[in-house]
Every structure is written in structure tokens, then in C-alpha cells.
Symmetry: C2
Subunit: 116 residues, 2 copies
């Protein structure tokens, strides 16, 4: 999948109401692509992915929970969604009024395109 | 709230189908109480809370998302639920077949008791 195709998917996610933007991060921290608002630092988003993966890895090791699939962090003024796609993680930054059902459907469609 | 009362709440959560156990962790890492199976190291659970809180703090700082409320990490063979209760975090370790709706209701009831 080309960088342009990745970019298109991320931009279409960003157009959904309640989504500030999204990014695709390699498991070792590199940013494969992003469509984030100007005020968001992609490196900061990558750092959050690293922390979530570390927590998941501890759960794998200590609780025998297997590989990471998804995560959600819900804060007072927004949510972060993380979803595993092959050896990458897609992160979506949303406001509190983003409907998780809709976001998950779109995310699922984006994942299917990205896996191809 | 006494240590015994905390323990009772954690034990009642543990009795729900699909829940391995739970623990209450202070934001600075101390374990206030736990009802975890013998094969789970409470220190490891505390370390996972620290990682989730770090990720949330970055989201607060860089994305202006405010205070941490809840998080879920979904792995292949289990889930981790984290929920803020005052200045503590309750963590619930579940199997994949735990029904999140039921767990969340019980968690809400436990939170209400714990906040008192």
C-alpha cells in the first residue's frame, strides 16, 4: 500500500464528526502516515502508542493475554483509540462526542483497506 | 473506607464470570487492595496502571484532553479495564468472554461504594 493510499484513508477518517485526526505508527515507533491537526505533535502520538504497547506487552507476559488488539483511553475532554493492523497501530484522536460505534465501523473499513 | 470494605468489593468483582480479578492502585503506584489470582503479580498490574496513566497524561498535555477517566486494553486472550476513582485507579483483569456491559455496571456500583 502506497503512502498516498494510507494518507487517503487517514484523511477520510479525519472527516468524520468528532475525530480530530489519526496516524499510523510502526510498532517500533516510526510514523507511517498521519492526518492530524496542526496543534498535535505526531511524535507525542507515537509516544502514547509506545506506552500502550508496553502495557499490553506486560499483560501478555504476566497475564498470558496474547497479542495486542485494541485499546481506548477515555479522558475528560477526548478519547484515544488504538487498533492493531498487522505490524502497525492506527491511532485515532477524538472529542468526547465522537460516537464510538460509527468510529469503530469506519476504523474497521480502514483496517480492511490497509491490510490489503 | 476501610481495607476490609475495599477487599469485599474487589472479591465481589472477582466472582463475576469472566473476571480473573481486580486491584486498586494509588496514582503514585502503591497497591491499596487487590483480589487477584495467585499467578498474577500485583506489582505487574501496578506497572500497567503507571503506563496507562503516562499515556493519558501525554494526551492531557499535548491534546488538551483533561483528566483520565477510563481505559480498556483488549488483547487476544483477555482484557484489562482501568477506571479512575478519585485519586485511585481500579484495574480489572478479564478473559475475552467477559461481557463488558455487565462488568461496567458492576464497576460503576463498586465505584459508587468506593467513592463514599
Amino acid at each position: 500500500m502506497s503512502d498516498d493510499e494510507i494518507k487517503n484513508i487517514l484523511v477520510s477518517l479525519k472527516n468524520i464528526k468528532g475525530i480530530h485526526g489519526s496516524a499510523i505508527i510502526e510498532k517500533f515507533g516510526d510514523i507511517s502516515g498521519s492526518a492530524l491537526p496542526g496543534w498535535v505533535d505526531p511524535e507525542g502520538v507515537s509516544a502514547m502508542v509506545a506506552l500502550i504497547l508496553k502495557a499490553s506487552q506486560r499483560a501478555t507476559k504476566e497475564l498470558d493475554q496474547g497479542e495486542f488488539l485494541n485499546a481506548i483511553i477515555e479522558n475528560e475532554k477526548g478519547k484515544l483509540l488504538f487498533s492493531s493492523i498487522g505490524d502497525k497501530i492506527i491511532v485515532v484522536v477524538t472529542t468526547t462526542d465522537a460516537k464510538l460505534g460509527i468510529v469503530n465501523l469506519k476504523l474497521q473499513a480502514a483496517r480492511e483497506k490497509l491490510i490489503k
